[in-house]
């Protein structure tokens, strides 16, 4: 099953489309989402974050199982989507206009 999360995080399965492997793609998904979508992802994932961190702490990145990898991707997406929800009240960075800032290389997970 592609993009399946560890069993103890099955309640986050409705948000598994946020488990995207690159920052560039996670940011693109963020700015093409509505605030309602961002808020509901945040409201579901943020309260589980301590548990997710404890779970992810058990795995080194060169031996991480696929389901844990998807969980890590999903929480990487929470990092970028936290800005609209906690700070901006809009998907884009205010006053950023047409400016872009693209990841040209990032460590693969």
């Amino acid at each position: 099953m592609p993009n399946t999360l560890p069993a103890q995080f099955s309640d986050l399965e409705p948000f598994v489309d946020w488990a995207v492997p690159t920052e560039r793609a996670r940011y693109a998904k963020r700015i093409s989402s509505t605030m309602e979508e961002l808020q509901s992802f945040y409201d579901a994932a943020f309260p589980r974050m301590d548990e997710a961190l404890s779970y992810l702490e058990k795995f080194s990145l060169d031996a991480i199982p696929d389901d844990a990898k998807h969980l890590l991707w999903l929480y990487c997406a929470l990092m970028t989507t936290s800005f609209p929800v906690e700070v901006w009240r809009q998907p884009r960075v205010p006053d950023s206009g047409a400016a872009s800032f693209e990841a040209v290389s990032e460590p693969a997970i």
Binding site: L56, K58, C76, W88, V93, S100, F101, S105, E106
Partner: protein, 428 residues
């Protein structure tokens, strides 16, 4: 009363009397003519950082760099003698660009055993010697030994690879980098191999972005909303003062406190930062990178609140070393008088597990949010400077000393530029 002691002269700026204290003209940032002179006086003549040794892990590893400001494309390679070599990216036969993939104007990287020109198949070994000429007997008295690739001076400092495009340059890299670099030597950059690299095309003169990143005076205002409301009010009331500034020849540095590490009051930071234990100043829990003692260039004031030193190595390389054992570099590559490519790269110790990876992710995406705000503000500045309102000079305060120094240094290089001797002029 300053929060942190200033030099006996009363200010950082007056400690360096050549800088003056008057308003500064920004004509140098809106003039195509000045930019053309900067290309020859600065980018074609100074040591430029083009990458790190980790980008060339084995013999035959290479990357290309498009240095538009110096009208150059170069290829940097780890040679068969395990040395870092740089060459002009041009085939000796008829001038085709030697190394590129799909799009001739875009940079590329990879590994090969030799250079092979796509056009007529001429080949060069990793030392740049011509080893094969297609249908060699069709040429007239051609000796392959006379057709090596054109070499570019290349050297390495602490794993950072530099090139100098001026064949007449006689200043060694280390001498050129000066005392700041000397005093950073030994910092374990090689331990910070987890690299996130970002790139942006920015609609401003290259010096305006350096201006933005060599002063923190703007931080409590432009980035106010990135802090929680109460903290933001406090920051803008206090304003910003650095711990220390220093200049060394064309280079400059600012030493500062930050909000790094675990905050005294967790309510000062956003909920996501509390959970991830990370933020703009990096992961709160510094990894062990074997740094027992800070090298002498770091935290020059010896202040216990120290959090970050930010060095500008003229012309376009900035190195930020954080107390929490990570590093950022900035590079500014001009593409015209009012555009440049900005590169921001974050270097961390490899994360030991998923939790550490997430902490690094939050630091990196926070850096991106700030950079997006900074970059767009620059376009607003550039367009107004170019509108040539009656306002032509601008006051710079003591926390903007590095801007004053940058523009003065760039102007000095431009004014000292002698017309380059062409082969025709020397009779060659």
């Amino acid at each position: 009363m300053p929060l942190f002691p200033k030099p006996a002269e009363g200010s950082w700026t007056e400690h360096y009397p050549d800088l003056g204290t008057g308003p500064v003209s920004y004509e140098d940032s809106i003039s195509p003519e000045v930019y053309e002179r900067e290309r020859d006086a600065i980018f074609a003549r100074t040591w430029l950082n083009v990458g790190r040794v980790e980008q060339l892990p084995k013999v035959g590893s290479y990357f290309t760099r498009e240095i538009d400001a110096a009208r150059s494309s170069i290829v940097v390679v780890r040679s068969s003698k395990d040395e870092i070599r740089a060459f002009h990216n041009i085939c000796r036969h008829r001038g085709n660009k030697l190394v590129w993939t799909d799009y001739p104007a875009e940079e590329t990287s990879g590994t090969f055993r030799q250079f092979t020109c796509k056009y007529h198949g001429w080949r060069y070994n990793l030392e740049g010697e011509c080893t094969f000429v297609q249908q060699e007997t069709e040429f007239f008295d051609l000796d392959k030994g006379d057709y090596p690739l054109a070499s570019v001076q290349a050297d390495e400092w602490e794993g950072f690879i530099f090139v100098n495009l001026d064949p007449a340059n006689t200043t060694p890299l280390r001498e050129s980098l000066g005392k700041f670099a000397k005093g950073i030597e030994g910092y374990p950059f090689h331990e910070l191999s987890q690299v996130h690299r970002y790139r942006a095309e920015v609609g401003s003169n290259w010096k305006l972005f350096i201006d933005a990143f060599t002063e923190f005076y703007h931080a409590p205002i432009l980035h106010a909303k990135q802090s929680v409301a109460e903290e933001s009010r406090k920051l803008s009331d206090i304003g910003y003062e650095a711990l220390a500034y220093e200049l060394d020849g064309p280079h400059g540095m600012v030493s500062t406190w930050t909000g790094g590490g675990e905050p005294k009051d967790l309510n000062m930071v956003k909920p996501i930062e509390r959970k991830a234990r990370s933020g703009l100043f990096g992961p709160w829990d510094a990894p062990n990178i074997g740094l027992d003692e800070l090298p002498p260039s770091l935290n020059p004031s010896g202040h216990r609140a120290w959090g970050l030193d930010s060095f500008l190595f003229f012309p376009n390389f900035m190195l930020l070393i954080w107390k929490e054992n990570w590093v950022i570099t900035y590079h500014y590559w001009p593409t015209s008088y009012n555009t440049h490519i900005f590169e921001g790269t974050c270097y961390f110790a490899p994360p030991k597990n998923g939790r550490e990876r997430l902490a690094q992710e939050l630091a990196v995406v926070t850096f991106k949010e700030y950079a997006l705000q900074d970059g767009n503000t620059l376009e607003a500045t550039q367009s107004m400077l170019e509108s040539r309102t009656p306002i032509s000079t601008f006051p710079l305060n003591d926390q903007e000393i590095l801007l004053r120094h940058l523009h003065k240094t760039a102007n000095r290089y431009v004014n000292e530029l002698e017309p380059r001797r062409t082969p025709a002029a020397t009779g060659a």
